[in-house]
Amino acid sequence: MIPDRIDKLLLRAIADGLPLVSRPYAAVAARVGLGEDEVISRLRRLVEGGIIKRLGVIVRHHELGYRANAMVVWDVPDGEVTEVGRRVAAYPFVTLCYRRTRRPPDWRFNFYCMIHGKDRAVVLRQIAVLNWQAGLARYPQAVLFSRRRFKQRGACFDAAPAREVA
């Protein structure tokens, strides 16, 4: 599906969060000047169409004890990377997995896995599993643990005053 102008208006209205009230979609509807039924049917289409990937709780993983957060990168030949990606995606501890553009000579890596764990030693063992069990050991690689978070976007929305959206 292609979102239209009203869909985009609606998406912008809930971007910072849903109102935490019994009828949140009615509250959103009042803000954007639509009916509750229309807001619900549009949001259902947006969820089913994959424009909204997920609706619900977005956590701050750091606050929940997930502090061993590793970005692991490998230099996998372009002809092999799709097969490698499918294999690695099946490991339950891999939280995100992508192929990205290389920036040689400084950055040769094209295959990325994020592993979010609570314990660095456990994450290192999981990386070893990818290397020795999923067959990634033969590729050049680097492990970049995060040291500090400077920004994670997002704010909860709660009973904001009514406003008009043109």
Binding site: P3, L11, I14, G17, L18, L20, S22, P24, Y25, E36, I40, L43, R44, V47, I51, K53, R54, L55, G56, V57, I58, V59, H61, E63, L64, Y66, M71, T82, R86, A89, V94, T95, L96, C97, Y98, R99, R100, T101, R102, R103, D106, W107, Y112, H116, A142, L144, F145, S146, R147, R148, R149, F150, K151, Q152, R153, G154, A155, C156, F157, D158
Partner: protein, 147 residues
């Protein structure tokens, strides 16, 4: 955080009803009251456990663009550079990481062209080169946290 809070966080990462009384529906599945659920979600937001209660968008499907960018920041300059980068509303996440490329952030914009403008602005403000690593292929995006 008690067992009910953990249940809420675990279950509601997977989705939330789109219906006239979604908290009531979700509360029934969780075995608690609607009011209790709303109060607990408010508290989890207030305490910063949740960054948000709402949608996660597919930026590309909305006509926008997302890239992963990195900088080599001299250690003494880290705070200043972090402040300059984070001042851009298009910067969504920013982490210090262990590498020569030691600052990594996501740039998300409403149009594909805007990515290059944000990169040029940050390069001009910081005097540093941005290494920009856009996604070519996505293998897995499950990102969920069990408590």
């Amino acid at each position: 955080m008690d067992a009910t809070d953990r249940l809420i966080v675990n279950e509601l990462q997977g989705g939330f009803p789109v219906a006239d009384r979604p908290f009531a529906e979700a509360a029934t599945l969780l075995g608690i009251d609607e009011d209790d659920l709303i109060e607990r979600v408010k508290r989890l937001c207030d305490h910063g456990t949740l960054s948000r209660f709402g949608p996660l968008y597919n930026a590309e499907r909305l006509g926008g663009a997302v890239t992963l960018a990195a900088l080599k920041v001299p250690a003494a300059d880290f705070q200043r550079i972090a402040a300059a980068v984070n001042a851009h509303p298009e910067v969504a996440h920013n982490y210090a990481r262990e590498d020569d490329l030691n600052m990594w952030f996501v740039i998300a914009t409403e149009t594909p062209e805007r990515i290059a403008e944000v990169i040029a602005d940050i390069e001009a403000e910081t005097g540093l080169r941005i290494y920009d690593m856009p996604k070519i292929e996505e293998f897995y995006v499950g990102l969920r946290f069990q408590l």
